[in-house]
């Protein structure tokens, strides 16, 4: 419990900044929704004139864009990108900082098993993600409720918001795994940014060329929000893929951590 609390405290301010930024992002953009929909036909014409490839890249569906869900989904692309960076940075950092800060000797010479150290940190990072999502979701519900002219379908909106959580979960697990596989991480950002933007670009290119197979390897494409808006459901296969990847990443990380030699600081 002490490691858990210590980690929550250590990440308190950075998580707060992430939450504030994310909430500001959705709030500012959602308040632009009424302006977009005031003259739907004119805006639709502009959108229709955009190259189809660009619309695909940004996941803009002409059918949905002018609904609150479609508009929100559009903002959401950027929010998830930011959320992925936050989650992965957390995952990479929470494990590797003991190495880079050389505090690992302090921790592992205490009467505590590596399993407990690992699970405490796992739960702390998960907790921080959970807090982020709770505040982010509540803010989104409230603001979307204010700007939406014809109510809010809670199921659709919740599924959209839950995909933010699922994408964060994926990158958190990936971050933890990477922190185990990569030796001597000086700065988590150096690992996080290339990975997250790599996935993001792959997903974008996949959408442009219309290659659906890309969706199997790109977490940003696991949850097609246009599908969610139309059907009110996730495509369940992708959810399974995510759960399997997260499960394997966590187990593998634990196995590596429990057998790892902690060399003297130099």
């Amino acid at each position: 419990m002490n490691i858990f609390l210590r980690e929550i405290k250590a990440y308190r301010s950075s998580t707060l900044i992430w939450i504030l930024s994310l909430c500001t992002l959705v709030t500012v953009f959602l308040f632009m929704y009424p302006a977009f929909t005031r003259d739907v036909d004119a805006t639709r014409a502009i959108m229709a004139n955009l190259p189809a490839a660009m619309r695909d890249a940004l996941d803009i569906s002409l059918a949905n864009f002018f609904t609150i869900y479609g508009f929100f989904a559009y903002i959401f692309t950027f929010a998830t990108l930011a959320g992925a960076v936050q989650a992965m940075n957390l995952g990479v950092g929470i494990m590797s900082k003991e190495d880079s800060g050389k505090t690992v000797d302090f921790l592992l010479t205490k009467p505590i098993s590596r399993f407990k150290v690992f699970t405490s940190k796992l739960f702390a990072s998960f907790g921080l993600i959970l807090i982020t999502n709770t505040v982010f979701s509540l803010t989104s519900y409230i603001v979307a409720g204010i700007v939406s002219t014809d109510g809010l379908d809670i199921q659709i909106f919740s599924l959209i918001l839950a995909s933010f959580f699922l994408i964060q979960l994926f990158f958190l697990a990936l971050g933890i795994l990477f922190s185990m596989l990569i030796k001597k991480i000086k700065s988590p950002v150096a690992v996080t940014l290339p990975t997250v933007f790599g996935f993001f670009i792959i997903g974008m290119l996949g959408s442009i060329v219309g290659n659906d197979n890309v969706r199997y390897i790109c977490p940003f494409k696991f949850y097609d929000l246009n599908y969610v808006i139309d059907k009110g459901l996730y495509e369940i296969n992708y959810l399974y893929i995510e759960l399997v990847v997260v499960f394997i990443a966590v187990i593998a990380s634990y196995l590596i951590y429990s057998r790892k030699d902690i060399r003297a600081a130099s």
Binding site: N2, R6, A10, G101, K102, T103, D105, F106, L108, T109, K110, P111, I112, S113, K116, R259, D261, I262, R263, A264, A265
Partner: protein, 299 residues
């Protein structure tokens, strides 16, 4: 009862050797010195005992319990002070020490009392931030951190670097005090005089192997001193050569250098008769001692 017992403890880092077939038996209540040059395997042995690295082969027990199977349980009663201390930046000393104490089952109020006692004794300000501390003061945090739970076994890995002589003295007093209460101490160092001052028995390690385990008294019996003499005129080689206990003798222009074992009085008397411009008597470095043991082994 043996507090620490290792059986053919071996550690390879990939293909490079850390330690090879280390056999140690450290008894309850003794101060055991572990001495060797840097890179000899002292830290690797200690890190293996603490479960920071896993042995390639062999085994070890502490308090009669296997170090891997009962790692967390054993560590309840071990205090560890590493050669270099690194702590969470941004924390105050007292917060770090309380955090450190929170891992132990012992009553936290008792731990806090001990923290305050030790801080006063070592003259450390508990309210300061770790970042703002000098190297020596960080070391004090390390000492308190290693002792605050009143461990039954204290493991020290080159602990004195960065401490001024006065603090070093206090620190040694502190260790002797703990030792009187029955605490066992494993003290690793590359400074022979330090180990001689404190320890009952000593193991000498080189290239990952134990070269010799000896009582410190026996080791002290063959205390070696390195003499360097600079003569004003011609060197009386014959007299120097005939001195008892001289080895590793070398002449160079007006200089003579040798290692003297045992009683120094004979040598001083002889040297008093020489016409010298300079005289140095110093602790031989470890390498020289090791050379001596290697030569002795071959005989």
């Amino acid at each position: 009862m043996n507090i620490i017992e290792t059986k053919k403890l071996t550690k390879y880092y990939g293909k490079s050797l850390g330690i090879s077939e280390i056999d140690l038996e450290i008894k309850e209540g003794e101060i055991f010195g572990f001495i060797g040059p840097n890179g000899a395997g002292k830290s690797t042995t200690i890190r293996t005992l603490l479960g920071l690295v896993y042995p390639t082969s062999g085994s070890a027990t502490i308090f009669g319990k296997d170090i891997i199977e009962f790692g967390p349980e054993i560590k309840e009663d071990i205090g560890y002070l590493p050669s270099e201390v690194f702590y969470y930046d941004g924390m105050r000393v007292i917060d770090l020490l309380k955090y450190s104490g929170s891992f132990y089952k012992k009553d936290q109020a008792v731990i806090l009392k001990k923290i305050k006692e030790l801080a006063e004794y070592l003259d450390l300000d508990l309210k300061k931030k770790i970042d703002d501390l000098s190297y020596g003061n960080k070391k004090k945090v390390g000492i308190i951190q290693g002792l605050l739970h009143e461990p039954k076994l204290i493991i020290l890995d080159e602990p004195t670097g960065g401490l001024d002589p006065l603090m070093q003295q206090r620190f040694f007093d502190l260790l002797r005090e703990e030792n009187k209460k029955g605490v066992t101490i494993l003290f690793s160092s590359h400074i022979l005089s330090e180990v001689q001052k404190l320890c009952d028995r000593v193991a000498i390690i080189k290239d990952g192997k134990i070269v010799k385990i000896d009582n410190i008294k026996d080791l002290a019996k063959d205390t070696h001193k390195r003499f360097k003499l600079e003569f004003k005129g011609e060197i009386d080689r014959k007299q120097v050569t005939e001195l008892i206990g001289v080895s590793d003798l070398a002449f160079d222009d007006n200089n003579a250098s040798f290692l003297l074992k045992g009683n120094i009085n004979e040598a001083i008397k002889l040297i008093a008769g020489f016409e010298l411009t300079n005289l140095l008597v110093e602790e031989p470095d470890l390498e020289e001692i090791f050379m001596h043991y290697y030569v002795a082994d071959k005989k």
